[in-house]
């Protein structure tokens, strides 16, 4: 992609988004369902000959393994990193924080860097699965430059375990040509699913957001683990299920071809669809919903620890980070990076909703990741 850091025009930004969208086959659901990320890790490990290595920087090794989310990086940055250090980045993509936790718990993941979401980090620390970061090896991380709302989940009891990558929201994407206007409430979302939008609504295949937004419908907290409140959410979800188009986090294809009219949607997906098809809009539920932030962290058993620090430090370089943001369309919490981004991206209402729209949103709570009742509720909903 861009070789320099000159500000990029809106047209060029759309071009980037388009080309990235065209190349994107693998998505959360797809990978979640297939375990393809693991297959890639196994194949790469079994056939090191397939990996272009350069024994230039002996101290870093020739490889670093990154576990991240789909469509979340500018691949050119990895090539540049290899050119600069001789370290090849092997990228594995995953479908949920639950799946990442399962892989790390099972041991032998082989990951050097991974990208947990805010609410998952304390569990990793408690389970002794990630190591405190040696900030002297991350000179590009300047805590003062980061908006604390999107950085503080990386610090547990005064120790920094993770540094911020991006943040975003989980809202509603709607096809206004079919829905007849903006859909900006979970009430309309779930009631419409059983009425005027019958057979056209998608919910995530992800317990946090699907259960969370069903809870918000009743005015409960997005993070509730209260049994009576969860029972409300379950009743709603099971009642809605026969009317849904799909339970899937791979909603872009169905939204784009018009089969689905409404879906739960993450910021970057909303931005991508809206850029290509202006009739697809993105709104936050006015009752509430999720705001989140993702982080870089290093597992305890990382086989290439030095290379892991080098990669995180490289990706936190404001110029590199700006190219990342242009490729994936998610907001960045780093003021130094934002200074390099085009003005219309920084004022985009999908990426940066008005403060009063953000205020009812909640960050995911740690308990939701491990609560057995939420996990089993989701399973009952899916297998009903």
């Amino acid at each position: 992609m861009t070789k320099d850091n000159t500000p990029i025009t809106r047209r060029k930004f759309i071009e980037h988004l388009r080309s990235y969208e065209k190349g994107s086959i693998s998505r959360r659901h797809f990978l979640g369902a297939t375990g393809l990320g693991t297959a890639m890790a196994v194949m790469g490990g079994a056939m090191p000959g397939l990996i272009p290595g350069r024994a230039r920087a002996q101290d870093l090794g020739d490889r670093v393994v990154l576990a991240t989310w789909p469509n979340y990086h500018d691949t050119a940055n990895f090539d540049n990193f290899t050119d600069a250090t001789g370290v090849y980045s092997q990228v594995n993509v995953f479908g949920s924080n639950e799946e990442m936790l399962a892989k790390l718990q099972a041991g032998g993941s082989g990951w050097d860097v991974f990208v947990p979401t805010n609410y998952a980090i304390s569990t990793y620390v408690k389970a002794d699965l990630i190591e405190p970061l040696d900030l002297s090896k991350l000179p590009n991380y300047d805590p003062a430059a980061f908006d604390q709302r999107f950085a503080d989940a990386g610090t547990i009891d005064g120790t920094v375990y993770a540094v911020p990558k991006n943040w975003g929201t989980t809202g509603i994407a709607f096809n206004s040509a079919k829905t007849g206007g903006v859909v900006d409430s979970w009430k309309t979302f779930f009631d419409g699913a059983r009425d005027q939008f019958d057979g056209r609504v998608m919910v995530h295949d992800y317990q946090l957001t699907t259960i969370g937004n069903a809870l918000v419908y009743f005015g409960h907290s997005f993070n509730s683990v209260d049994e009576a409140e969860l029972a409300d959410a379950e009743k709603l979800l099971i009642d809605v299920k026969p009317h849904l188009f799909a339970i899937s986090s791979d909603y872009q294809p169905s939204m784009r071809n018009g089969d689905a009219w409404l879906t739960m949607c993450w910021t970057g997906d909303g931005k991508q669809m809206n850029s290509d098809m202006p009739e697809i809009g993105f709104a936050l539920g006015k009752e509430g919903g999720e705001i989140w932030s993702d982080y870089y962290a290093i597992p305890k058993d990382a086989p290439h620890r030095e290379a892991a620090y080098a990669l995180i430090n490289y990706l936190l370089d404001p110029e590199v980070n700006a190219r990342e943001a242009l490729a994936h369309g998610y907001p960045v919490a780093d003021a130094r990076t934002n200074a390099l981004l085009p003005e219309d991206l920084l004022s985009d209402p999908i990426l940066y909703p008005a403060a009063e729209r953000l205020s009812p949103l909640e960050f995911g709570a740690a308990v939701t990741l491990t609560d057995p009742n939420r996990a089993e509720l989701m399973a009952r909903f899916k297998s009903a």
Binding site: I25, H29, F30, G32, A33, T34, G35, L36, S96, E98, E99, L101, A102, Q105, A106, T123, K126, A127, G199, D205, Q207, K241, L244, F245, A246, I247, S248, P253, S254, N257, G258, D259, T370, P372, A375, E376, M378, A379, R380, K382, S383, A384
Partner: protein, 285 residues
């Protein structure tokens, strides 16, 4: 001499035996042990001895029901489509074209089932076959994310596995039997029912077993073409190990699936054997 022979046999069987023990028996033992354990508070496995996981099996009733209806249905549908095709390839087509046509049956295997299932999303989606049907006045037909879509996907995906065993059985068929029947005035449909079909039964049995067993463990096609609404036991297992991380319960579900599969396969083999045997009796009379 005899000693040396025994030793050689033991030596030759060792690699297969080790393979079998390390990759089949050991993992199975782990699953069995896990199935009596508990879920770790943060997910995963915690040691224990409880039958709670097995008692909880009815919670996945729908998954077992879906698998145990769609897997046999898919097997039968694949058989009905594969048999005429295999028959044509083995007995009707000219030798000049045979190889080409056989290769065409394998060609889809060169592409990942993942990619091919994604193609079906578009074929069965609103702009695909339903749009075509609408042009003929059949409005608002939804195909994608239904059990029917999953059925189409699994039959499509596993068809070659059904075609080949039947083809091999029919290919080996002694043609002189058919000529003799014809010389004695047997109508073609009768010689098919009394000669061709019984003699191809081993192929039918093998193909059905292959397809049925793989279908009971299927999770990819239901996930992609069922839109998460047509839930197989395979999907339940993926979720239990990777999402809700209840490895103990997941192991119990896996054990239950293996047991059910063994019972079904045993019954099926028995039925087919009896069918073959009774035919021999008829033939002797």
């Amino acid at each position: 001499m005899a000693m040396a022979q025994t030793r050689a046999r033991a030596l030759l069987l060792t690699p297969a035996g080790l393979w079998y023990a390390a990759l089949l028996l050991f993992p199975l033992a782990v699953v069995l042990i896990f199935s009596f354990g508990e879920r770790n508070p943060i997910g995963g496995y915690a040691p224990g001895f409880t039958l709670e996981q097995y008692a909880n099996l009815p919670a996945r009733f729908a998954a077992f029901r879906n698998t145990l209806t769609l897997a046999p249905l898919g097997t039968v549908a694949a058989l009905l489509i594969a048999y005429p095709l295999a028959y044509y390839l083995a007995l009707r087509v000219s030798p000049r074209w045979k190889t080409t046509l056989l290769i065409l049956v394998i060609v889809p295997f060169w592409t990942s089932i993942l990619i091919r299932s994604y193609a079906w999303i578009y074929l069965l989606g609103g702009n695909g076959i339903p749009a075509l049907l609408e042009a003929f006045g059949l409005g608002d037909i939804r195909l994608i994310n239904t059990p029917f879509a999953v059925l189409v996907g699994i039959v499509y995906g596993y068809l070659p596995l059904m075609v080949f065993p039947i083809y091999v059985a029919l290919e080996k068929l002694d043609k002189s039997l058919l000529e003799a029947a014809s010389d004695l005035g047997t109508p073609p449909w009768r010689s098919f029912l009394q000669i061709t079909l019984p003699l191809s039964m081993p192929g039918v049995l093998t193909g059905s077993m292959l397809v049925f067993i793989l279908l009971t463990g299927e999770f990819l096609i239901p996930a992609i073409l069922g839109g998460g609404k047509v839930f197989f036991v395979g999907n339940a297992l993926v979720d239990l190990f990777l999402q809700s991380r209840n490895w103990a319960f997941g192991s119990a579900v896996a054990v239950a699936l293996i047991v059910i599969m063994l019972i079904v396969v045993a019954l099926y083999t028995r039925v087919v054997k009896r069918f073959g045997a009774s035919r021999d009796d008829v033939g002797l009379m």
